[in-house]
């Protein structure tokens, strides 16, 4: 509201929306001007996505008024929103995996053959998609199946799709959660270009530093209510956080152990998996947080999955407490005290239709069997209650289905699961993806606590500040190889990036690329593209 | 009660080795004639009895047979495919119990064109291609059942019927034979319900129970094949109503025979399934030998009850 002269493109006032049992939006408001980037922030479950889904015609509002260009509108379905020039990039990927990139981008608006309403013109479709991708500097063949792309590429396809509508209002719900620095830079360039063309952009993110770079105004929501809107230059991050959580968050400095432990808990020797991993060797010590850094698709998740027995390995040795172990299934891993917190909690972390309690005890269920052979409900409830309390899991009850919880809360449920399993080696893969600042600092604190209790922790993260802040040691990967190891003292963003782009790994070994395996010059994106087809 | 229909009790037990059987194989000692027998089904006991007769004849006349039939009597198309495949096997003759008397004709024409004699059994085909048909007159047989029913319930009251199939020839003929006879000859008898149990013992049981529940004044129950009547018997047993209903069945089978012996069931119509199977293969052998055959071989039906069930003549017609 600082620039009173700019005419609002969209206004939303008095918006109310309830889901069974949850009052998600309570008299909420929001406005958007042409040619601005308006950031929307709030804790997990604050109602950001819900508010924007109302605007995009996905949810019907219970009450309230939406105007566009000053005219009141009813947005009954996504089609109506599109017709009004509103397009949305969803927090979750919303792609048809079996279809190609081009088919995904233009779904619902396929070019037709001449004189025909039903026959598709796929040549034009691919050409249009190619143009669009090129404009975004994306090197993706529009005929690639989306299933064959990495998550980051899929996210970029989503963005391309949203842009293809040439919308006047573009809503981005956490577009950067799965992107690398370079892709984020590319995205920001696109956003700036659109802004200069007069597009109004809603930008939802938990990465508050980004807001400073890209947004013009920031609106804060809490508990389904509107809190305030401030011009970005006038706001400090601390201020915004305070508005978000309604209190000051004390961000502790990394609490590194004074004395480094010598006890090696996990040792990995020469782990290989054709086309994905090459000669992975490292050690993990008791009480240590070992950071795994690298660009998207560097193979960090693959290392974790290989150690955890989720994917087969071709060769290599794993030693737990100095003993060689055979880990062929996740069950073996859990038995040897390894827990894995996946980067994609919905797909790999949670039984979404089940309640909080079951999810929390799932990995350790056998421990809760009583003499009769039944699951001891009293103990599972007690354990779940304990974790709900210590992790501050925001759930109405233990019987709440996990699918009804917000993303950050879900993540905490997964953490609770591995705490219940009480494994002494924990692999956290992107533990703070999609998590609000409050929850994030809690998770950091948790990681430190766990390390201090003697757990050995691997933390995979694409956020360099997070890696730098949390890790005792940092392993950097590129193209399926470990390209270097840094101690906390020698680590810096620059040092990590240098190692993370040290190419010449397994892709070159495959030998069939026409690309430039040795070149460091190209954008980091290339990495995932190349290994993706391997 | 005596045999209720004119019938030539073609006892299958001891066929005189016919001239045909000795004459034909003389030239081709190595290759036995091949005669596919395609029935209307194969899982039900009735068809298994037919199969037993056909296999006996195959031994007696030194021929090869195969016996197959679709899983349900509704599957007209599957039977067509079986006949077609059988013809592709270049058989010497073909025995067929047509599910649909018209649908088969084109294939029978092909058989005729290829010089393969066709023998019908169980029920006829609307065509003069079959050199003979060994069949039961189901309409007359069911009418006999109706007469017995009327006699035993005293000419008046409520009667229900369970039939195995609503659309198959045997199902229709037995239902209509029974129903029409009652309508014509016994005005004081009402048929209160006709339901179809697919020949499935369990379903027929629950079906019969519901009918009995719905009609407390029911006096008689007719089951038109083995599965149907066993359903009725189970229902009566489970409801503890033994002796309160006149039960008349069809075909044989151990449970039905036991019920007749014990008096739970009044009696039943039996065809001559073993004889039908035997007869059709025998006719095929005769046709191959160039014999002239009567166009219709009535294989007959009989009423049996506790009084005559153990007569050797009747026993020969029954299967367990």
């Amino acid at each position: 509201m600082t620039d009173a002269t700019a005419k609002p493109l969209v206004t939303m006032t008095g918006i109310d929306k309830s889901f069974p049992g949850v009052h998600a939006l309570d008299n909420c408001r929001f406005d958007l001007r042409a040619g601005e980037v308006h950031a929307l922030v709030g804790e997990n479950g604050a109602g950001k996505s819900t508010l924007m889904k109302v605007l995009a015609g996905i949810y019907r509002k219970d009450a309230g008024v939406i105007t566009i260009d000053g005219h009141e509108v009813e947005i009954a379905n996504p089609r109506a929103a599109q017709d009004l020039g509103i397009s949305m990039i969803h927090q979750e990927l919303n792609l048809m995996n079996h279809l190609t990139v081009a088919q995904n981008i233009f779904i619902g608006r396929e070019p037709r053959r001449r004189f025909s309403t039903f026959l598709l013109d796929d040549a034009t479709l691919n050409r249009n998609a190619a143009q669009l991708l090129e404009m975004m500097h994306l090197k993706i063949d529009p005929r690639t199946k989306v299933a064959d792309l990495t998550v980051a590429k899929q996210q970029m396809v989503e963005i391309a799709k949203a842009l293809s509508y040439n919308a006047r209002v573009l809503i981005m719900d956490e577009p950067t959660a799965a992107l690398t620095e370079a892709e984020i830079a590319e995205l920001f360039a696109i956003i700036r270009r659109l802004r200069s063309q007069g597009v109004g952009i809603v930008y939802i993110s938990h990465r508050l530093e980004e807001l400073k770079q890209i947004s013009d105004r920031i609106t804060v929501m809490r508990d389904g209510r509107y809190i305030d809107t401030v011009p970005t230059p006038d706001a400090t991050i601390e201020q915004i956080i305070r508005m978000m959580v309604g209190r000051t968050i004390y961000e502790s400095a990394p609490e590194l152990p004074t004395e480094e432990s010598r006890e090696i808990v996990l040792e990995v020797r020469n782990l290989n998996r054709a086309g994905v991993l090459k000669d992975i060797s490292f050690t993990l010590k008791r009480g240590e947080i070992l950071g795994f850094a690298g660009l998207m698709g560097a193979g960090r998740t693959e290392v974790a999955r290989a150690i955890f027995g989720a994917d087969p390995i071709d060769s290599g040795e794993i030693l737990v407490h100095g003993q060689p172990v055979r880990i062929k299934t996740p069950r073996d891993a859990v038995r040897h005290g390894i827990g894995y917190l996946s980067e994609d909690r919905k797909r790999y972390g949670l039984a979404l239709k089940m309640d909080v309690e079951t999810n929390v005890v799932l990995a350790a269920l056998q421990k809760f069997v009583n003499a009769v052979g039944w699951v001891d409900r009293r103990r599972t409830t007690a354990t779940a209650n304990h974790h709900v309390a210590t992790l501050a899991i925001k759930t109405p009850s233990l019987q709440q289905q996990v699918k009804n919880l917000s993303g950050g809360t879900q993540q905490k449920v997964v953490v609770g699961k591995w705490l219940t399993a009480n494994t002494d080696i924990l692999i956290f893969d992107e533990p703070t993806r999609g998590i609000d600042v409050g929850a994030k600092s809690e998770i950091y604190k948790l990681l430190n606590d766990l390390a201090r209790q003697g757990k050995a922790i691997i933390m995979i993260s694409s956020e360099l500040p997070e890696i730098l802040r949390m890790s005792h040691r940092i392993i950097v990967m590129c193209e399926g190889r470990i390209t270097g190891e840094l101690s906390s003292t020698e680590a810096s963003q620059e040092a990590i990036m240098t190692l993370a782009t040290q190419r010449g790994g397994i892709v070159a070994d495959n030998g069939d690329t026409g690309g430039s395996p040795g070149g460091q010059s190209d954008s980091p994106r290339l990495v995932s593209m190349e290994s993706q087809s391997a | 009660a005596a045999p209720a229909a004119p019938a030539a009790p073609a006892a299958p037990a001891a066929p005189a080795a016919p001239a045909a059987a000795t004459a034909a194989p003389a030239q081709e000692a190595a290759k036995k004639p091949y005669i596919p027998v395609i029935s209307k089904g194969f899982q039900h006991q009735f068809w298994q009895a037919v199969k037993a007769g056909a296999e006996q004849a195959a031994i007696d006349f030194n021929v090869d047979i195969t016996f197959e039939g679709p899983e349900s009597e509704a599957m007209v198309d599957k039977q067509l495919e079986m006949v077609q495949t059988a013809l592709d096997k270049k058989p010497d003759a073909l025995c067929i119990a047509a599910l649909d008397s018209k649908a088969l004709i084109p294939l029978l024409e092909r058989a005729q064109a290829e010089g393969i004699p066709v023998i019908g059994f169980d029920s006829g085909v609307d065509s003069d291609i079959p050199v003979t048909t060994a069949a039961t007159d189901n309409i007359a047989a069911a009418a006999t059942a109706a007469d017995k029913m009327a006699e035993l319930i005293g000419g008046e009251g409520e009667v229900a019927v369970i039939v195995h199939d609503q659309t198959s020839r045997t199902g229709i003929d037995r239902r209509d034979g029974f129903v029409n006879r009652i309508a014509e000859a016994y005005p004081n008898i009402t048929i209160v319900d006709i339901q179809y149990g697919g020949g499935d013992h369990l379903r027929s049981t629950d079906l019969a129970k519901a009918i009995i529940q719905a009609h407390p004044n029911l006096k008689g129950f007719f089951g038109a094949n083995e599965g149907s009547i066993i359903g009725v018997l189970n229902a009566v047993t489970e409801l503890d109503m033994g002796g309160k209903l006149v039960i008349i069945g069809y075909d044989a089978g151990k449970q039905q025979m036991d019920a007749i012996r014990s008096g739970l069931q009044a009696g039943a119509i039996t065809q001559n399934p073993v004889g039908i199977g035997y007869k059709c293969v025998e006719s095929a052998v005769r046709a191959l030998a160039g014999e002239q055959l009567d166009p219709i071989t009535d294989t007959g039906f009989f009423w049996y009850d506790a009084s005559n069930i153990d007569d050797p003549q009747i026993q020969a017609l029954l299967y367990e």
Partner: protein
């Protein structure tokens, strides 16, 4: 790290979607049918007819119990009907042909079902064949084997008269002479209680739900999903085996040609009972209600002497409506 104090969101509101109300409503369809048929025919609400309905539910109910587990994993089982038949035949073989004692024969029957379920389970979990196809194949094989083993002839239990008592005797009647409820009904209810306890109280039940909800996440939680899935299919098969024993006892014979098509009734019972075909949720109580809805409907239409072709039409419509009512109810909750 106690954050509770900071959260001001009124989550308590979610508590109103009470599960108890939910369960009472699930009975609604059944009760509506009961009332309608009772008003339409005086012969419906008689003791004998109610016993008839209970008895008619026994076999389908048992099959449906097993199918419930399998549908909860997100799978399907088309083989229940013919596996039931094969179990009945094997029971007959054991008792009549091999002359084994009845309890052993019963175990052979149940074991046959479990074995067939095991084949389903291994095909699905080890060979990764989709459940629809795996169980379709086993359905055909069981059908064929039942005929092969029995020689396509029924096996009668006349020489072991006690066998029939398993289904048709009446323990209840021995205690309360006026209420001769056949044992088959007790077996159904007993099996349902055990099935309920397995689903809600045991590790197996919990894993069953978890696998149906998210198989991969369950695997990544260190659960041996393949083994548990196999076990669940075997358990489902065991219920078909019990169904086979009860059917054989009721018919006092093992009928080898029965069983085709029974799977659809069993699956319908499960789905009408509110178990989601996409897996991850379901209750035994629901399945039992679903099985009774089907039996009551079939029985009621027969009692009313509705022509059979119309019975089919009406049943088809009501199956859809029953599930639709369940959907509406959930949406409102």
């Amino acid at each position: 790290m106690s954050l509770e104090t900071t959260s001001s969101i009124p989550f308590s509101r979610t508590i109103f979607r009470s599960d108890a109300t939910q369960k009472i409503l699930a009975f609604a369809g059944l009760i509506v049918l009961f009332v309608v048929f009772s008003l339409a025919s005086p012969n419906f609400l008689t003791f004998n007819n109610i016993v008839g309905i209970l008895l008619a539910t026994a076999v389908n109910g048992l099959l449906a119990l097993g199918v419930t587990y399998i549908i909860i994993t997100g799978g399907i089982d088309l083989s229940v009907g013919t596996v039931m038949t094969l179990s009945a035949v094997m029971t007959g073989v054991a008792i009549v042909m091999w002359g084994l004692p009845i309890p052993i024969g019963v175990l052979v029957g149940i074991g046959t079902g479990a074995l067939a379920g095991l084949v389903n389970g291994l095909t699905i979990s080890k060979m990764k064949v989709p459940p629809f196809i795996a169980t379709l194949g086993v359905m055909m094989m069981a059908k064929g084997l039942a005929l092969v083993i029995s020689g396509a002839r029924p096996i009668y239990f006349n020489d072991a008269p006690a066998f029939r008592e398993i289904a048709m005797g009446s323990l209840v009647g021995m205690i309360v002479p006026d209420y001769k409820i056949p044992n088959a009904v007790l077996v159904l209810f007993g099996a349902a209680i055990i099935a309920h306890l397995i689903l809600t109280k045991t590790v197996m039940g919990r894993y069953n739900l978890a696998i149906g909800s998210n198989e991969e996440a369950t695997r990544l939680s260190g659960v041996n999903v393949d083994r548990w899935k196999t076990a669940i299919y075997a358990l489902g098969g065991a219920f078909s085996g019990i169904g086979g024993v009860i059917m054989a006892a009721r018919l006092n014979s093992a009928q080898p040609a029965l069983g085709a098509g029974y799977e659809l009734d069993a699956i319908a019972a499960v789905v009408i009972g509110g178990t989601s075909l996409s897996g991850g949720e379901g209750t035994i109580l629901g399945t039992i209600i679903g099985a009774f809805i089907i039996s009551v409907l079939t029985n009621g239409l027969r009692i009313l002497s509705v022509p059979q072709e119309w019975q089919m039409v009406i049943t088809g419509a009501i199956v859809i409506l029953a599930v639709y009512a369940d959907i509406i109810r959930r949406r409102q909750k």
